[in-house]
């Protein structure tokens, strides 16, 4: 585990981990957006790698992926962006979110080299369930990376126990069935699921999928250690896209983005 990730785990709760798609609307804008997220209180960043066939994602992130792919974004280029973010002052942990095929084609060894070179802290592979990920999980540990595991409301209690026992970084608890995207209701057994997760996990328990407002997050206060927000943020970026890539309007767009964040980030706390 990196020092950044260790520090993340000891931060005051609720933790807040936003997701953005690398390269949407442009690689440069991704750097600016990451810094704005840190400024507005993000505890860590999930950097999504665009993929042609994102099985776990809803329409908002699918569209972001297509835009980013058109901009030529790739796993390797996205990792390289993190060095630029670091130079500009990003100190929070960065977790690379990538579908397995992209990692497989890049090669694990190459991935670990790039991750070390560009100050990556974690890896999340949404289409790699517990059974398939044992080796990668161990390899991450050897390379000081946190392999982020996911659990769902449909995950059996025994399985949840196994997943959370070996969880690194944080445990990603999926709030509802289906794909990513904002929604108004969550899985009906969610509270019990979160209780079980909290009871068996050694790392912070974060809730994600479908969150779009501070009110929604308040429902879960005390039941988890923090939140992950993706589609709501990516949707905002989609709206601001044309302005973010225009030199003249860029600053205004980042300000609008920060303003939006200040209304959704659970507890405003500037990382220092």
């Amino acid at each position: 585990m990196t020092n950044r990730m260790k520090e993340f785990q000891t931060q005051k709760t609720p933790l807040f981990v936003p997701f953005i798609t690398a390269g949407d609307p442009s690689p440069e804008a991704t750097v600016d957006l990451a810094l704005a997220l840190q400024q507005e209180g993000a505890s860590a960043l999930e950097l999504g790698i665009p993929y042609s066939d994102p099985l776990a994602d809803g329409p908002v992130i699918q569209r972001a992926s297509l835009r980013a792919l058109k901009n030529g974004m790739s796993l390797e280029k996205a990792i390289q962006l993190v060095s630029i973010m670091r130079e500009k002052g990003l100190t929070i942990p960065v977790i690379i979110f990538t579908y397995y095929n992209l990692l497989l084609q890049l090669g694990e060894q190459k991935f670990f080299e790039l991750a070390a070179q560009h100050d990556i802290d974690g890896l999340l592979v949404p289409d790699m369930p517990f059974e398939e990920s044992k080796e990668l999980h161990e390899a991450c540990q050897q390379h000081d990376l946190s392999f982020i595991s996911l659990a769902a409301p449909t995950t059996s209690k025994e399985r949840l126990g196994e997943i959370s026992r070996t969880a690194q970084g944080f445990l990603y608890c999926i709030s509802s069935l289906g794909v990513t995207g904002t929604r108004t209701s969550f899985a009906k057994d969610l509270n019990r699921f979160l209780e079980n997760a909290k009871a068996s996990s050694q790392v912070p328990v974060l809730v994600g999928f479908g969150l779009s407002s501070r009110e929604q997050m308040q429902q879960f206060e005390g039941k988890c250690d923090g939140f992950i927000m993706g589609s709501a943020i990516v949707k905002k970026i989609e709206e601001l896209g044309p302005e973010l890539v225009n030199e003249e309007t860029k600053e205004k767009a980042i300000a609008a983005f920060s303003d939006f964040l200040s209304k959704v980030v659970p507890v405003k706390k500037v990382y220092s």
Partner: protein
Amino acid sequence: MKTVYPDSKGRYGQFGGKFVPETIMFALEELERGFLEAINDEDFKKDLEHELTHYSGRPTPLTYAGKLTERLGGAGIYLKREDLNHTGAHKINNAIGQALLAKRMGKKKIIAETGAGQHGVAAATAAARYGLECKVYMGEEDIRRQELNVFRMKLLGAEVIPVTSGTRTLKDATNEAIRQWVSAVEDTFYLIGSAVGPHPYPKIVKEFQSVIGFEAKAQYKEMHGGKLPDKIVACVGGGSNAIGIFAGFVNEDVKLVGVEAGGKGILTGLHAATMANGREGVIHGSLTYLLQSEEGQIQEPYSISAGLDYPGVGPEHAYLKFTKRVDYQCITDEEALEALNILCLEEGILCALESAHAVAQAIKEARTMSPDENMIICLSGRGDKDVHTLFEQQKEEDSHDQ
């Protein structure tokens, strides 16, 4: 030579597996339990057999293609007539099997993906027969190209849902069906159309298609005093008809040939020759050979036959290629069209464009074999659905001639 796969993790060697989001794992486990219970249940087996016999019209004949054999002057050619099934192709074997399984598992709704609409029609047919609600996901682009099949599915009471993500074709329809399945898993069964997808799907589809191989084997042996044929030839898109017919012969001393769509030729990049030109990768939850960019983005395949137009291939085929048990070859659009014409003229059978790829390869190979040898072609479907494509093709050729 006896092979035991997939293993408990759904692997065929390094291929297969379950590369899916955690949210689907529960559904796959439930499916596997339901499937294993069903195939060990005598009542289920009896129901399935009854439906295959009295509804779909099995067993399908094994036809000796005498004139074609004579024309080529080589190996004797037999046709396993899956084209004579209800709805016109082998797809119904799997649709009936999975729909009965869905019912046994207490599911009220099925969802399916479709490319050209053949599997969609088979799924809608089975849903009507067994009283299940049916939604078919189909790429917007395919809906435009396959208007008549869309209408057919609607006639059968299914709802056809346009998919607008990605390239709006089969691979995206499959992604969308999987995504929707996740959110409705309690009362919904995902009826996959080919021997692809995460474990246990490739195993399930093979089980329900293996009737082709075991029937063909028994029929051939009956005709030839207990002897086996020398070679089996089948077309491969996802690979369900091929894995079905191979199932009867894979543990015997019989040569197996799988035929992929070479499209306009491998060098043009316009093809669906996954095994000739793909690299190991993950698609729809399974590790297999895959047409993809260097970085791993999935590429859109091309073939004149919509049923072979898939960027991946079933993981068991990947394994059979890797272990060299099956010889995989490519046939171009042009060769397939020529073979389709030859079969029409020599045997009075209009086969599907997919099946014509197998016929074309068989024609090449029969010539080089001795008249003492025999081969079986899996004639996976009939060509009625392709008449429009053939008609357009003919018009184009005529205009070139003038």
